[in-house]
Symmetry: C2
Subunit: 155 residues, 2 copies
């Protein structure tokens, strides 16, 4: 399964926010869109960074409530792991596990083309298992699971 | 693959916190243990609730920084989805997808016996793919992939 298939189901929309927005702004946007991370982008198509729920909670632990007034440029992760639309779900699972991250922006020819979360990856695996079960069910229902029946019909 | 196998790899330790602790305390504990959720428990073996990074960021959005001084009993999720050690990884993926949650406490005979995160689930899938690849590699290296070689040896 390829990431482009995951995006086909999920959609290509990515919630972005600018570097000059504050952490409080990001907290509002995360809630408004019910997501776990925002891509920090000036143009909406480039990637300046990423800010996640985890980044915010970790900053609260070190700096307290004052962190809410700081600009995202102070807090965001700037070394953003990305992937292309032709990456596989297995590759993305490995990347998320190795780097302990839960969100990976997808870029296509240098432009932001989607955002895949660990929840999307798990959902795609569930969908795959479901499709496999349905295929098997249809196969058995078609009688293909009983190869001798057609020859006994012929007699 | 069963959840008890995931816990065998991951360990049975669960980070807990009491209901009277504040959100600020939870933020500190999440950072100290580098986890995304804490089980709220008075005794360490019962489950009164669960508090996640998401719960905290959502509460910040609605109530602002004042939320940090509130007790966890105000904020925690009290209807906690749990599973037993004999649940399958596939079942847990489905539960996490359906309820949009990333952490599920494991209970064994009514006692807290572990906590499985969506990251643990994805890691277990990666480990499974790795084991499958190694089995296939050994099978091919053993010559079993070329069934005619043993009969030609015998001649």
């Amino acid at each position: 399964l390829l990431i482009e298939h995951v995006l086909h189901t999920k959609g290509h929309d990515v919630r972005t926010i600018t570097t000059s927005a504050t952490v409080a702004d990001a907290v509002d946007e995360l809630r408004r869109h019910n997501v776990g991370a925002l891509v920090v982008s000036e143009s909406g198509s480039t990637i300046e960074g990423i800010i996640s729920e985890r980044d915010i909670v970790r900053a609260l632990a070190t700096d307290g409530a004052a962190v809410l007034d700081r600009p995202l440029s102070d807090l965001m992760t700037t070394e953003v792991a990305t992937c292309g639309p032709r990456a596989t779900v297995d590759e993305l699972m490995r990347l998320m596990t190795d780097r302990r991250i839960r969100h990976v922006p997808v870029t296509d020819e240098g432009t932001l083309a989607g955002l895949v979360s660990i929840g999307d990856i798990v959902k795609s695996r569930i969908d795959e298992l479901q499709a496999e079960a349905e295929t098997l069910h249809e196969y058995l229902a078609s009688g293909a699971g009983a190869p001798l029946s057609s020859s006994s019909n012929a007699s």
